[in-house]
Amino acid sequence: MSTNAYAYYPGCTLHSTAKEYDVSARAVCEKLGVGLEELKDWTCCGASSAHTTNEMLAITLPARDLRTAEKMGKPLAVACAMCFNRLKVTEHELADKAKLDAVKALVGEDFSNTAEVVHLLQILYERRKTMVVSKPLKGLKVASYYGCMLVRPYEITKFDDPENPQMMDKLMVTLGAQPLDWDFKTACCGASLPLTRRDIVLKLSHRLLVQAQQLGADCLAVACPMCQFNLDAYQEAINQEFGSKIKIPILYFTQLAGLAMGLSPHQLHLDKHIVDPMPALKNKGLA
């Protein structure tokens, strides 16, 4: 990962519900001297729905974006954990020549499946030692939440330990924050079920937020728009359902990195969250 020039795949949610992730990722990368050139005319990876319906569809949709990155001759930086997972799975599946040939017929014969796919967390992690931390997040207790899509299946994503990953925790140390050791780093939040089985999302998100609260977490750091949405937007419903009093801001790791690098809350869209992070940050003298 020696290059500083990446093709960038934001993914669909970064244009709406996860806008603050897009904005903070771009701001932080600019500050780090990492170039993100948005993939021209990118299309959806198919997310969790395509591989439920049809395998061919599920590996063809991401292949178009892989081909574009390949043509740009740059590694592909991915923000959304779900997109990252689907792109990695596709890259893996297309090692099978028969599948690659079938996909080529749909995306273009010049496609050779050689683009390197990396997640933004990997990019920041690799550069943590040269990061200029002008406003350390002193005293901020952070529960790093990796979710499922980055770390599993390890054989394909090759990201970090699937049970106890460390990458985000180490990044938090660099930023001056205090990462918490906790049990739910890679436990599922309920994923794509909020519209259909909200009860499951509330239950799964509740159990992990409760432990974070018990450990005194000032916030959760996340790398997945789906996790962020479930944990942030449903906290009120969780409290109603379980009689709990949870109020924990759910921030993207890029927002925390940006703060530590001296960017303003406004530049990082910290006002876009349902659970307002400002009281916790002000309390620690960080905003």
Binding site: T43, G46, S48, T52, T53, L193
Partner: protein, 199 residues
Amino acid sequence: MATGAAVTPSPVSDLRTFVEKQSGQRILDCYQCGKCSAGCPIDYAMDLGPRQIMRFIQLGLKKEVMQSTTIWLCVSCETCSSRCPAKIDIAKVMESLRILAVAEGSLPAEKHIDLFHRTFLNTIRRYGRAHEFTLTATYTVKSRNLFANLGLAQTMLSKGKLAIMPPKVEGSAWVKNVFSKTKSTRPENPTTVKAEGGH
């Protein structure tokens, strides 16, 4: 699962052969240790746990497997797969069962989840990218659960986090074509399901 329910064995090879071919997993390697069910975050809500699904596939109990809520409730978190001592990607097995259910048009035990996937894919087919506003609005109308997401949608809109206008992408024509070439297009208007109580 319901106890004492009559089981209907199908020729053993049918279901297992399909799943093995589709998922690339060796179903007979499962020796029923139960680690998948123990670690599954949604096991509590399923009528058959992941371990039972594996055993039922081995036994060729197709109807019971296809009618289970399990195959729809699985969100592919891959916890089971990453812990399986027999190195079976159980989430991939679940995925192949959903693909079979869709291909055979069998009635899903979790109709809303099927409806959600259908609606999501139709949005992509139309615009080339997902569009949460269209997805939520269409799903809300079709699931006849009109007020469930109203408050949250308002909050998201007021935060400027829901783009109202759908995305315009040149690649959308290509996406539409891929849906048709891969025969992934499913009815725009599936049988409307009734809102379920109790969730």
